[in-house]
Amino acid sequence: MPIGPFGIDPTIWAVLRLLIAVGLTVFLVLNGALVQIFLERKVQAVMQDRIGPYHTGPFGLLQTFADAIKLLSKEDIRAKLTDAPFFLAAPAIVFSPMVASFVVLPFGPDFVGAPLNVGLLYLTTLGSMTVLGVVIAGWASNNKYSLMGGLRSAGQLISYEVPQILGLVTVVLYVGSLSMVDITNAQPGPLVNVLILPMAFVTYFIAALAETNRAPFDLPEAESELVAGFLTEYSGMRWGVFFLAEYGEVTVVSAIMATLWFGGWHGPGVDALPILGVLWFTLKTYVFVILFMWIRATLPRLRIDQLMGFCWKVLIPLALVNILLTAGLILAFPDPRLPIAVVNWLLVAALVVGLPFTQRRRLLRFRSRTRESVAMRDALLAPPMLD
């Protein structure tokens, strides 16, 4: 009889391994969300010169636990005219792909749930399934705000999926593998991918902000315009599940960025002590999580036409040019690292320098439009001639 790890029968071990993996993932997701909500409150508080939660537990650490218990014990409300089965199914449709994404994340040298050789494609696929849940939630709520939120979300998520995937393609071209483990192994030293492919990183980072509905791209749930977007009719733990999914997705895209551009689990001391890799990976992931919060505290929300225009007129052309140049340089040079790095940094510079010019033209247009409308108002409100 063959013996698997820990002297357990391999067939039983397969089932046991699955159960352990699912248990660990749910544990990670739930605790990750709790930690992130706490971090979000504290980071925002620091940035807005406040203290943040501090009453419940040491440093307010137990505040999110209290909130989670409150959410769980809330009354389960469903409006009468909602489309019942789909209204109930939508949170699950958003939540489950996010949980499934954790399977291929490379936490450490030997801490990968399933080292798929198409891991990156798998992550992209699961990321694209979220849209369906959001659109269904918007439609099933039978509420105009929800529907508008769902439609905006469909347009936004489908549009930003394109630059997101194009950003990944550049890295895949350069490394030559779709496997998360191979991509991590390809950047062992201090020369991580972000130094060679910064444009792909910028593209992916902006698209990932939009894909996870984070500010400044949080139009599907824009409070000042749409009440709460597709979440309007949701309350209690169903609303909580949507937020768990959002925080989980933030973790997943942060982990993708840490793996693809910042060397994943690699860091000082990993060769001697592989478990350190988990620490480095988590730290790198949380740097991006906090960066997301920083951006949320800094930037105002975009308008829907600015959002779409930026995606289709700026990000996608730049990403396509980047892919074309990177592919050409890989074919042209035996060691293409330096030329690719030069071209990529030039593209980043073009983006950074070029954006204010497009904004200047837009500003001039707005100013002339304002002047016209002011002139029109003055003409209408001009006091009638009495004499």
Partner: protein, 166 residues
């Protein structure tokens, strides 16, 4: 010990594809149709997984569940929904539909029963390299033609929308 799993999942996916596909045609609720259509596509992806074609399965989900279903939903939500029954030009379509379905189904059935020896599935995820290399060598021309066709459709759609605005 787990030999029963493959036939079990095959039956599950088959029932899913046929049942959900029929329900998409029969039902009238847009949410149900969309979800069931996505479910049909997901079951198709499961079939590809059983055949050892992981990459194709993932592309199936990425393109059909993640994009095409959403685009159809998007279209339906943006167009006007009338409460009345559909006013179709041909009111009695059943015989036509049956005839057309038979014409399509016959070759498929003949083809399905002509398979005698099924090739053994390749190891996990082994279809990525063959798929990529055949797409860009043997099938490079159809691939390029398809991409030009899609580009033409994209430009055409933009032209139509712009003409409406003017």
């Amino acid at each position: 010990m787990f030999d029963f799993l493959e036939p079990f999942f095959f039956v599950l996916f088959t029932v899913g594809i046929i049942g959900a596909g029929a329900a998409v045609v029969m039902l009238r609720r847009i949410t149900a149709q969309a979800l069931l259509m996505a479910f049909t596509f997901a079951c198709m992806a499961g079939m590809f997984l059983l055949l050892g074609a992981e990459t194709i399965a993932l592309f199936q989900v990425l393109i059909y569940v993640g994009a095409i279903t959403i685009l159809i939903l998007f279209g339906v939500m943006f167009t006007k929904q009338s409460e009345s029954d559909y006013a179709l030009f041909f009111q009695r379509q059943a015989p036509f539909a049956a005839g057309l379905a038979a014409v399509v189904a016959l070759p498929v059935i003949v083809l399905a029963f002509s398979f005698k020896d099924v090739a053994t599935p390749s190891p996990r995820g082994g279809d990525l390299v063959p798929l990529g290399s055949s797409l860009f060598t043997d099938y490079a021309f159809p691939f390029e033609v398809a991409s030009v066709l899609l580009l033409a459709a994209l430009v055409g759609a933009i032209v139509l929308v712009k003409r409406d605005e003017q």
